[in-house]
Assembly symmetry: D2
Homo-oligomer: 149 residues x 4
């Protein structure tokens, strides 16, 4: 499945859009690797993101996984398109703790309107990576509705 970007400026388009997601700044998340069909987002772990047991809240994981999956789909969309999440599902696999999380979004199937993506959250603790959550989601390419990015 060769993933060919329709827009050669895809990476810049992802970075511009990511910078406009105020919620990513609120979380302290940073855009990492951007490649055709692949986007990573890094989330340093801090107390402000935790649930009642001190683990990273499932919603914080969902947030970076959703953005990573959505932007992975966005790399393959044409210039001028916008990406919207239609739905996603997350399985929590292990308590999320450590010094940082990376959310790795990957396109599973890119369609003209609908793309299906996967994203894995890996937690780093003492130099060891653990898969702590996995998402599958459906992303929609929207054109001509006054949205961009």
């Amino acid at each position: 499945m060769p993933l060919q970007p329709k827009d050669p400026a895809y990476a810049e388009r992802v970075r511009t859009s990511f910078d406009r997601q105020a919620f990513m700044a609120t979380l302290g998340a940073r855009l990492g690797r951007v490649a055709p069909g692949e986007v990573d987002i890094e989330l340093p772990v801090r107390d402000a993101l935790t649930q009642q047991h001190g683990f990273v809240h499932a919603g914080a994981l969902a947030s970076v996984l959703d953005s990573a999956a959505g932007y992975a789909a966005f790399t393959l969309m044409p210039a001028g398109a916008a990406v919207l999440s239609i739905e996603f599902k997350i399985n929590m696999l292990e308590p999320a703790r450590g010094s940082s999380i990376v959310a790795r979004g990957r396109v599973v199937r890119a369609g003209r309107t609908i793309s299906v993506c996967r994203a894995d959250a890996l937690a780093s603790e003492n130099g060891r990576e653990t898969l702590v959550a996995t998402l599958t989601g459906t992303m929609m390419c929207v054109e001509g509705r006054g949205l961009a990015g």
Copy 2:
């Protein structure tokens, strides 16, 4: 399906646990109604929660929906138990905007170990409520592993 709390102090237990979810404070979320099998969480909308088009980020919705669903299940768990999210799935129905969101978590089926919950996110805009997202999730009751709340 009569929902009978096993622990008469269920509401206090939910409030104590919610206050320990630092991520809810980061979002600016507040605990609302707490009843057997039912928990509401209120989220005032502000720029810090938005995605690239100015709507509330799906991850912020997921966060309050997950907590509302988890605490709805927690109201029916015995004293000393902890609640963990195993998985959840969210469908986004409309762009989330307005002045505030309320996440209404409800238990669909309460089991000894596994509970299934639903949660709806309603956005208020100019006095009108719109259903913007809906979650179904599986919550686990954990006892005797050194976790509480």
Copy 3:
């Protein structure tokens, strides 16, 4: 949310399409109530549908829930459109047994391209109904690709 069919012949359109789903005949499923945004499918329980413990297989439940949800969406689509399932998620709530199952599909949000539906499976045993599974799914309206129904 008033659900207005665009095609007054919606019910006939559902019945014609259902009759072409050979898999429903293989299962022994029958179309029940058809109303705007609502479709019920009845599944008499028999040994041919069971899993290893004698309960109805989750896949058989998924099959009638998916069709009920898809046809609920289809009632609101224009004449000439086809409906395709994009994704669905099912939670199993109780072992499914008894004399018959009814899958009740309901539209949660009807869009031009994308509709979100819910479907509940209720098992009848000795005159008592139990909710045994619940589905949420995304249905797509396809026009002009040579598909119909």
Copy 4:
């Protein structure tokens, strides 16, 4: 993640249980490869499995994907345990057609009580395989409730 079966007779246990799933015989599904954490199920395509456009019904895909995922988890459970599907979610990626489908179930995370699995459905048409659907699901290990397999 080395997947070590607790029961050396795991493969025989899977085969015995599969043979008791009457619904698999109704579908015409056959058990394929069985290895620790991995189970394949083969489904020859025939008219009896189709939806209204002549593709394999999403419910038939869900059925073999759920069984493949559940039995993948079952390979790692102790002797005497039973496996139950708690929930699963499926994304349909392409219309499912061809001469046969293989559902490849794989364990993502094996826990004492809860296991998370993935399963992919690949359709064979003219010697070419296409990924047509993907499932993630949660499987539960049940002991001492009078169930087996």
